[in-house]
Amino acid sequence: MSSPARDRILERLQGAPRQEIPRPEAPPPLAAAPDRGARVARLKSLLEAMRAEVHVVPSPEWLPRLKDLLRTRSLQTLVYAPDTSIGAALRAAWEEDPSGLPALLPYDRPVEAFKETLFAADAAVTTAAGAVADAGAIILRPDAHEPRLMSLVPPLHIAVLAADAIYPSLGDALREGGWSADMPTNLILVSGPSKTADIELTLAFGVHGPKELVVLILE
């Protein structure tokens, strides 16, 4: 894709003195990768320090736990992604007993036909593709089934994370996940509810992103 501006800029850069600088050595890996228990604990601790609410539950119990925490909040609507495994599980669970629970809203059409609903929704529940223990962040990998705005627009975001998918560091996640070979449209790290310190450096939570983040870690 040639343009005169591009050519002139590149020509100037190419005409500058060359420096031979090798790629820096990757830092040596952590002496012993922390075990899963340590990773769960570190992730939980850092997320909570950033005001996320974290529940560590045995895998089979995640739905009852989700229902419990939804029942303690007065929510009208919960956006979910119908074409995911958790989506199917949610539908089944709601069919069984929807009492005291928000209505399930499937995000099953383009945002152009869903925007008003989405912006008025109280909460959304998504999977988390993984997490980074040493930074205290979950990894979201939205796709055709689980759209991007679910984890951003509603004031409450609930993320369901497999404990096995917690990496010690971002470098590990990147390497073991083979990210560079296949980057999705959008990949996000989330370390808590939205916040700002722009006013006198006073930390305040709940700005434009979700006001609340709940993470369910499934063991």
């Binding site: 420096q19 925007k115 912006f119 040493d134 990147l174 939205s194 916040k195 700002t196 450096l201 709940g206």
Partner: protein
């Protein structure tokens, strides 16, 4: 912008007690936060060395990486535009907006867009640029420019912000409660995110390997601007390209730790393409505008090129004793603080902005903490040399513009005194005897504005050495 001299603006800032209090408080805070998150000195040094190496490596391959970035982005469906000047960049942005018959754009924080004076340009074409970062939102309401790279409204305290909101946001009550002020901003801007069809952002790092734009933020407004509208325009300086995805983890750790003392921002947003087939949201069009604006010229000089390593963390500002006392606006240009002092004279020329390179005691607090180890004091010295250099054209624009007879004679005199021992001893003897009678002009007058008269010793060390019989070989 810079119609008054830097000296006048600095003087005014120094006399503004509220400003000095606001900045002293904020910068002190930032220093502590950074210390807390980089508490292991050895580990921090390793990380900084790595960050420096990654950036220097990327710069060494800048044209190749930009070409690679463009190819990868294009493959991904991101449209790449090149702009040599800010005027061209503004036109590119305008044309994209006009092609969608839009009259508004929601903006995430972008220092490059400040460099472009984009908002004013768009306004002159009937397009409203709506700042959504809280700090930018505050200063936009008040018609001001940012005073810091990371926290644009840091020069304002709660009371000042409360007043601005109450006066400028329709229906907003007067409140100094931070939670309430945030709620007002959230409500006001949520409507804009919903309605506006074009979003604009900066870029923290652009990964050549994968054609990925990496953006970091805490508020969520950046994700809003880059996900809700149908069109996303990203603007970046051409020095922001990095080679590989694996370069991101250390750079992110350095940027975030240095900027706000956090381990990680609330959101790290990696954008690789517009909405793909089957996806339900995200922009249908993503544009990347690569801006030069003097960077390719800076690149020509291997020493000055190191200016381009900057990741815009703002920590040099936080640690600078000058910035802490005069605040960001006194610098008179978009980038304040030490980075502004080395970058601006190179972009704007020494005639217009060269005095910034002299407004430093060379204390080195900035380069001690720079996450990518830019040798800031070395570059300041280089710019000072350029200002007086009699060498023919080349180097920094405006080279030699400060040459003057008075200083040339003064330094020549200093050289003579210090290379002729007998002259030197004569001078110190004279000053020792009659130094207090020096006429109160020029340098002495400036020294004595804040200090009592210097006392020359009656007998110099050289003389005392002779008296005491200390050997000379």
């Amino acid at each position: 912008m810079a119609t008054e001299s830097f000296e006048k603006r600095a003087d005014r800032a120094l006399g503004d007690a509220q400003l000095r209090r606001n900045f002293a408080f904020a910068m002190g805070n930032f220093i502590l936060k950074r210390q807390a998150v980089f508490s292991d000195a050895a580990e921090t040094e390793r990380l900084r060395a790595l960050g420096s190496a990654i950036k220097q490596r990327a710069l060494s391959r800048l044209p190749e990486l930009l070409t690679q970035l463009e190819a990868a982005c294009t493959r991904n469906g991101i449209r790449v535009h090149w702009a040599e000047t800010t005027a061209v960049a503004n036109r590119v942005v305008l044309e994209i907006i006009q092609s969608h018959a839009a009259s508004r754009v929601v903006k995430g924080k972008s220092m490059v867009s400040e460099e472009m004076h984009l908002n004013a340009f768009l306004a002159s074409h009937g397009i409203e640029a709506i700042e959504t970062d809280l700090g930018e939102f505050i200063i936009q309401l008040n018609g001001e420019t940012p005073s810091h790279i990371i926290v644009p409204a840091i020069h304002k305290n709660k009371a000042q912000i409360a007043k601005i909101f109450h006066e400028k946001v329709p229906g907003a009550p007067y409140t100094e409660e931070v939670a309430e002020l945030n709620a007002i901003a959230r409500r006001t801007l949520r409507r804009k995110f919903y309605e506006v069809g074009i979003g604009l952002s900066g870029v923290n790092f652009a990964v050549a390997e994968t054609g990925t734009l990496c953006l970091v933020e805490n508020e969520g407004n950046g994700r809003m601007c880059t996900t809700v509208p149908a069109v996303h325009i990203a603007v970046m300086g051409l020095e922001k390209v990095v080679e590989k995805l694996e370069d991101l983890p250390p750079l992110l750790r350095l940027l975030t730790g240095s900027a706000t003392g956090q381990l990680v921002t609330t959101y790290v947003n990696l954008i690789t393409s517009p909405r793909r087939e089957g996806e339900k949201d995200g922009p249908r069009e993503v544009h990347l505008v690569i801006l030069d604006n003097g960077r390719s010229r800076i690149y020509q000089d291997p020493q000055l090129r190191r200016t381009l390593q900057c990741v815009r963390c703002g920590t040099c500002l936080n640690h600078c004793p000058v910035y802490t006392r005069i605040g960001g606006h006194a610098y008179g240009f978009v980038y304040p603080g030490p980075i502004g002092q080395i970058l601006t004279p190179q972009v704007e020329g020494l005639e217009k902005a060269g005095e910034l390179a002299f407004a430093s005691s060379l204390c080195g607090a900035c380069e001690e903490v720079c996450p990518v180890k830019i040798p800031i004091t070395e570059l300041l010295r280089r710019l000072r040399d350029e200002s007086y250099s009699a060498a023919p054209d080349g180097g920094v624009p405006g080279r030699g513009c400060r040459q003057n007879l008075v200083e040339r004679l003064a330094w020549k005199g200093w050289e003579l005194l210090n290379t002729h021992p007998r002259l030197n001893r004569l001078a110190t003897a004279l000053l020792g005897r009659a130094g207090e009678y020096l006429p109160p002009g020029g340098p002495l007058e400036r020294w004595m504005r804040y200090r009592s008269q210097p006392q020359f010793a009656p007998r110099s060390l050289h003389r005392r050495i002779q008296e005491e019989g200390i050997p000379d070989e």
